[in-house]
């Protein structure tokens, strides 16, 4: 079978997406109940001093990272099921709906903010905001970076 990869927008107009990548996972506190949709994860700040240094503050933790231009862009593809005229089968198409050229990468371990005297002034507002609404407190868990897992992709999936 053949699946066409198409694009509704064209290269010039294709909307740009982005990625914020952190080494680890963000989890909600065990006491948190309810849906995580709309929940705030943290605050991304671009620092004053250097051109492309970013911090990401999540709960008590602060990450330091930088903007990375991808060597090869990533295309965001969406599987689209199209009903064909004959009732027999559905036709699948892949549509390119976005392109990612840069990401903000945080590859270091986080720094706890409590003891930090470092740059406290400008992270203070994110920090305080999180304190003011405890239900939105998120816990950042870190695990060792695993090697890349390679998985085969099959047409059936």
């Amino acid at each position: 079978m053949e699946i066409r990869v198409k694009c509704g927008c064209g290269e010039e107009e294709c909307s740009e997406w982005t990625i914020v990548e952190i080494q680890g996972v963000v989890e909600t506190q065990s006491s948190f109940e309810g849906s995580i949709q709309n929940l705030e994860i943290g605050r991304l700040c671009r620092s004053d001093s250097s051109q492309e240094t970013y911090t990401f503050t999540v709960g008590y933790h602060e990450l330091t990272g930088s903007k990375v231009t991808l060597k090869k862009p990533l295309l965001v593809l969406k599987k689209v099921q199209k009903c064909t005229d004959d009732l027999v089968g559905k036709e699948t198409e892949l549509e390119a709906i976005g392109i990612i050229r840069t990401k903000i990468l945080f590859k270091t371990r986080p720094k706890p903010l409590i003891s930090g005297t470092y740059a406290l002034s400008y992270v203070l507002d994110c920090f305080l905001k999180l304190w003011s609404d405890k239900s939105e407190l998120l816990l950042l868990c870190f695990r060792n970076k695993l090697g890349c897992k390679r998985v085969k992709l099959s047409m059936a999936s």
Partner: protein, 385 residues
């Protein structure tokens, strides 16, 4: 909408000003979104995709490949244990949020990894197998001539171009050149290979006509050839096909030149078939079959026949590169099963057509063979690794 769109979503992250900050939240539609995939693509491929020139091909039980107009790629999913927060633009069809939230930066999905492409050789072995199931031969031509209403609803499996595209994992260009190397032809919308005996019949009548009408092998007029063959009750399409199989075009006009190597090779195969013959009797019979004006040389049979020495006798038999698998690992396996040790001059014709992206012939030999050289001045011998 447009104005506020610029203030949120991915744009807000990409264009974040020095000393500014922005909160990042989960999107109202945050979820696994397994229908969203990330594909790493170089600039050429990006432009191919935006121009609608890319397809995925494969049967449900196969690993899917991605094809551009001329190349085939395997798709590898590369997992990433980092959390990749995927952030769409603020206005993203299909993933709507409240208009008042347009200035927010929201994470739609945590991507588990992305897909990478690795250029591979097209998987054409199945093509040969499919087309060889029902070669087009004399029987079918007769049936068509006898019965004008010859029913096209045959019981046998035949394949149109679109059937092949849906079955074979190769790009359009690679599929076309695969069909060409099988000398396949499109008849009534189906791609067919021609039965060897039937092709032999057409060729012999063609050669016969050359003698009869005093045509030169190097200067055949397509129109004349076809009309002579049609007079002998061959379909005109097959008459031109015969020129394509055994000849090459001279200039741009409809003039053709028969290629001695192709013609001689054909007769060698006709003689040998499945048999092993003494070299002397083969050469004798071969020379008899070759039309006058052409010279049969043993080098013409490279990659098609092999010789073996048994005692003082040398025997020759068919061993065609065209019957071998096209993937290197399988190719070498068959070769070394057939013969454990190969000299380079024998081996090379069976490797010539192997094109592996990013791997040279040296690399192939290093990877799949062991090279032994008994003395410094001796020919190297290749065996299985």
């Amino acid at each position: 909408m447009e104005e506020s769109g610029r203030n949120g979503g991915a744009q807000a992250v990409i264009n974040l000003g020095i000393g500014s900050s922005v909160p990042i939240s989960y999107h109202p539609c945050f979820g696994p979104h397994e229908d969203l995939l990330l594909l790493e693509a170089d600039d050429n491929l990006v432009s191919d995709i935006f121009n609608g020139r890319v397809t995925l091909r494969g049967l449900p039980d196969e690993d899917v490949v991605l094809c551009t107009k001329s190349k085939t790629y395997a798709i590898k999913f590369v997992g990433n244990s980092n959390s990749m927060f995927l952030i769409p633009p603020s206005i993203c069809p299909g993933f709507l949020q409240d208009a008042k939230d347009d200035d927010k930066v929201s994470v739609l999905k945590t991507a588990p990894g992305s897909m990478e492409l690795v250029e591979i050789s097209p998987r054409l072995d199945k093509l040969k197998q499919l087309l060889s199931e029902n070669p087009y031969g004399a029987g079918e031509v007769e049936a068509m001539m006898m019965d004008d209403d010859f029913d096209h609803q045959r019981d046998v499996a035949l394949y149109t171009w679109s059937d092949l595209v849906n079955t074979i994992q190769a790009s359009d260009e690679e599929l076309r050149s695969g069909l060409q190397s099988l000398s396949a032809i499109e008849i009534d919308g189906y791609w067919r290979v021609i039965d060897d005996d039937y092709l032999d019949m057409i060729l012999r009548i063609l050669l016969h006509n050359c003698v009869l009408k005093d045509w030169s092998f190097d200067d055949l007029d397509e129109v004349e050839v076809v009309s002579a063959l049609v007079a002998d009750e061959f379909p005109s399409k097959l008459a031109s096909h015969c020129l394509r199989v055994f000849g090459s075009k001279v200039n741009e006009d409809d003039k053709w030149k028969l290629e001695p190597r192709l013609v001689c090779l054909h007769f060698a195969r006709q003689i040998l078939r499945e048999e092993k013959m003494r070299l002397e009797s083969f050469m004798e019979e071969w020379k008899k079959k070759i039309p006058e004006g052409m010279q049969g040389r043993f080098e013409m049979l490279e990659g098609e026949v092999l010789t073996e020495k048994i005692g003082i006798e040398t025997r020759v038999y068919t061993f065609s590169v065209r019957s071998l698998p096209s993937t290197p690992a399988e190719r070498f396996e068959v070769l070394f099963k057939h013969r454990p040790k190969w000299e380079w001059k024998d081996l090379e014709p069976y490797l010539r057509d192997l094109h592996v992206p990013r791997l040279s012939m040296e690399g192939l030999l290093l990877k799949y063979t062991r090279r032994a050289q008994p003395r410094a001045d001796a020919e190297p011998v290749f065996s299985a690794r």
